[in-house]
Amino acid sequence: MTATSSHAVSGDTGETNYLNATHGIGSWLLTRDHKRIGILYLLGISVFFVLGGLMAVLIRAELATPQGDLFSSDVYNRLFTMHGILMIFFFLIPSIPAVLGNFLLPIMIGAKDLAFPRLNLASWYLYMAGGALTFVSLLTGGIDTGWTFYTPMSTNFAQGQVIVTAVGIFIAGFSSILTGLNFIVTIHRMRAPGLTWFRLPLFVWAHYATSIIQVLGTPVIAITILLVGAERLFHIGVFDPKYGGDPVLFQHLFWFYSHPAVYIMILPSMGVMSELITAFSRKRVFGYHFIAFSSLFIAVIGFLVWGHHMYISGQSVVAGAIFSFLTMLVAIPSAVKVFNWTATLYKGSISLQTPMLYALGFIGVFLIGGLTGVMLGTLGIDMHVHDTYFIVAHFHYVMVGSAIMGYLGGLHFWWPKITGRMYNEFWSKISALVIFIGFNTTFFPQFILGYLGMPRRYHMYPAEFQTWNVLSSAGATILGFGYLLPVIYLLWSLKFGEKAPANPWGAKGLEWETTSPPPVLNFATPPVVTEEAYAYETSVPAKEVTVGV
């Protein structure tokens, strides 16, 4: 425990906080407290992460040998389909925004709650209803469409619970839309006196950008899912060439949402990064405005690059070139963020505590994920590695590795605030290391497999690819243990952990000025903000602000 003496403000001393204010299961299921709803989401996404993770274990076990020896091809296809659906729609997309964002966003801006607390609870119920339906579809046999639902596979050929799963995703989508809406209104209307836009923590900027994507993008996937359902049930012919429809149209609609969805997963993680790096180098972030605007730039340009999933889909060559050009532009704000984080370390006071280890892990996997993204955006390279394990490796680096490093880093950073307890520092550092090693051992060999030509979603593969697959499966085993460790020591900390002080890291930000865990209304007295974000350096003078809006 490295609580710095200068910041050892006593936290939980028996006074009322959001955890012990009311008791009973009903007080949780009917809560309107954004902090409790954040915890409800934490429980929900953890269940789906474990389910999706188990499927990953089975997939990697099957792929340890070239022949299909554990499952039939049909079962294998259902496994990777459900792995993708659970992990993307029910874990990665809600992970940081719905858990950490829900808990922290109002506190970070000095508000008592989100703008629409009831809507927030309704969003959780929508999410759980969607998840439950998808789980029902899993129990009754699942589906074999792939998480991408490509037509005419999904509409005319696939077996299984396509409609049930589609409705599940459709419902969960509304949870995402309403959460985004809630965040946007909250950030606009509920900032504390003195908290101007450019004093907001970058975590808030990242969530603002993410919310825009959620509100604008998710309705498109909802419509697309409805069309797939209608086509499957009534053969209306939108995607069926037999009736003059176009199966490629589905891909346009699908990726119009699903590409920006990648930024729903990565932008919040980048927001966490800015908090971690400043806190553990005790320094104002370098290039605040550039990082803030790069999030918005990514959100906007992210809507214009969907066609890079379709270079070889039969779309026109010129369209391919335009999408490739726009894709290249996304690389710039991403690079700018990495450079600014690096520059933030310069002349900092750097402490390698667990959240910072995750932050450094993020930079490692994001570098690899981002740079291979440039390769895939390049037309002449994508035409070789598209739909191979190169893609699988790339998107796991970007939306799994980077998102999970951010999520776990954030969870470790704010765990004392959320629970009022400190976890074991030694084991948490070990976990960060094991996850980093396990992740890279799992996914780096897949780049090589991809360039060799191994197609994705193959149940069986030529024997010459086995070495790299065995390495990948071995890495997955390490990664599995890495994920298991936090489950153990975090649960342990709830009962046996030291009581957390209000500000264990000596960090800046309104969330560290209230008790751990915070009171029901977040602050004993409504805060007034008089300084810039991350004003760590003693030499930074607090600017005069007119208080009151």
Binding site: T4, S73, D74, N77, Y150, P152, F157, P241, K242, D246, P247, V248, S281, R282, K283, G287, F290, I312, G314, V317, F325, M328, I332, F339, T342, A343, L345, Y346, K347, G348, S349, S351, L360, I363, I368, L371, V374, M375, T378, L379, G380, I381, M383, H384, H386, D387, T388, L452, G453, P455, R456, R457, Y458, H459, P462, G506, Y536, E537, S539, V540
Partner: protein, 328 residues
């Protein structure tokens, strides 16, 4: 034996080495950037490690705009190189050379059927001559597939309801993988084949010798009669429909004023959806052949129409003569 290297795929087409060179360039730049960033971070971690608990960072003063612009513009320049270079290769891959031989590929759950220019057919095996450009016109009979030959750095989706094209020129004899790269259902991972690149004389020998597979399909000439195309589309058929002699590859004026190129896709569409693009001076009286003709039969008709020489140039191919009894 399949050529297998544990780290790198065979380089066996004219395009492969170009794709690889670009790939190495991007990998090189990526490694350079990663090493620079990671070593900078490590240096900072050591140099600026926290020495005592209450220590804070030192403020950086001065104009940082130049720095921000620099590290925005340099990556922009590099990705633009990647963009233009990649686009050049992609455009080349989209334009088959004029002397390419025309092959047809059909994907169906879960096999590849290939038809040679001479009409010979095979399944999940594909024999081609070395150093000869080969153009593939591909379609699917059910879901979307993807025809991929990693050794050629070749990959193209194969769609139901339309044609996509790809081409390659193999540079090394040998046997290479064909994969279906677009997930297509239960036996997706069994939709694989082998492409055999042969010396030209071996290919010619194989063509006359080796057993054909894939069943028999009526020839285009037979179908032209069997489907009663000849009742309207011949010079002596009282001008109800355009004469098809010498049509292929020529521009066609439509009733709505547009002009389209008479390529494979246009002919296919005109067979299945005749009212969509009606030729100027004619009525939309042709019935659709949707559900009455298979994809493979359509290709036979197209190949037959391609062979029809302009009137006076030469007689229609011998196959035009009805062989057996029509099956109208």
């Amino acid at each position: 034996m399949l050529p297998n290297s544990p780290v790198f795929p065979p380089v066996s087409s004219t395009l492969a080495s170009k794709v690889d060179l670009l790939f190495f360039f991007t990998v090189g730049v990526s490694v350079l950037f990663s090493v620079l960033i990671v070593s900078t971070i490590v240096a900072f971690l050591v140099k600026y490690r926290r020495r005592h608990a209450a220590e804070t960072g030192q403020e950086i003063t001065g104009n940082t705009l130049i720095l921000e612009l620099t590290w925005s513009v340099i990556p922009l320049g590099l990705v633009m190189i990647s963009f233009f270079w990649g686009a050049a290769i992609f455009f080349e891959s989209a334009r088959p050379p004029a002397d390419a031989w025309s092959f047809y590929v059909y994907g169906k759950q879960w096999m590849w059927k290939v038809e040679h220019p001479e009409g010979k057919r095979e399944i999940n095996e594909f024999h081609v001559p070395v150093n000869q450009a080969v153009k593939l016109t591909m379609t699917s009979e059910d879901v979307i597939h993807n025809f991929s030959v990693p050794a050629f750095r070749l990959k193209m989706d194969v769609l139901p309801g339309r044609y996509t094209t790809a081409w390659f020129k193999a540079t090394k004899t040998g046997t290479y993988h064909i994969f279906c790269d677009q997930y297509c259902g239960v036996d997706h991972s069994k939709m694989v084949g082998k492409i055999h690149v042969m010396e030209p004389q071996d290919y010619r020998k194989w063509l006359v010798g080796g057993a054909a597979a894939g069943g028999t399909v009526a020839s285009g000439g037979e179908l032209f009669v069997a489907k009663a195309c000849n009742t309207c589309h011949r010079p002596d058929s009282s001008a109800r429909a355009p004469v098809l002699d010498g049509l292929f590859g020529k521009p066609v004026a439509l009733v709505d004023g547009r002009t389209v190129l008479a390529d494979e896709s246009y002919l296919r569409e005109s067979i299945l959806s005749p009212a969509t693009k009606v030729v100027q001076g004619y009525q939309p009286i042709m019935p659709t052949f949707r559900d009455q003709i298979s994809e493979e039969e359509i290709v036979q008709l197209i190949r037959y129409i391609k062979e029809l020489k302009p009137a006076g140039a030469a007689a229609a191919p011998a196959a035009a003569a009805p062989a057996a009894g029509g099956k109208s």
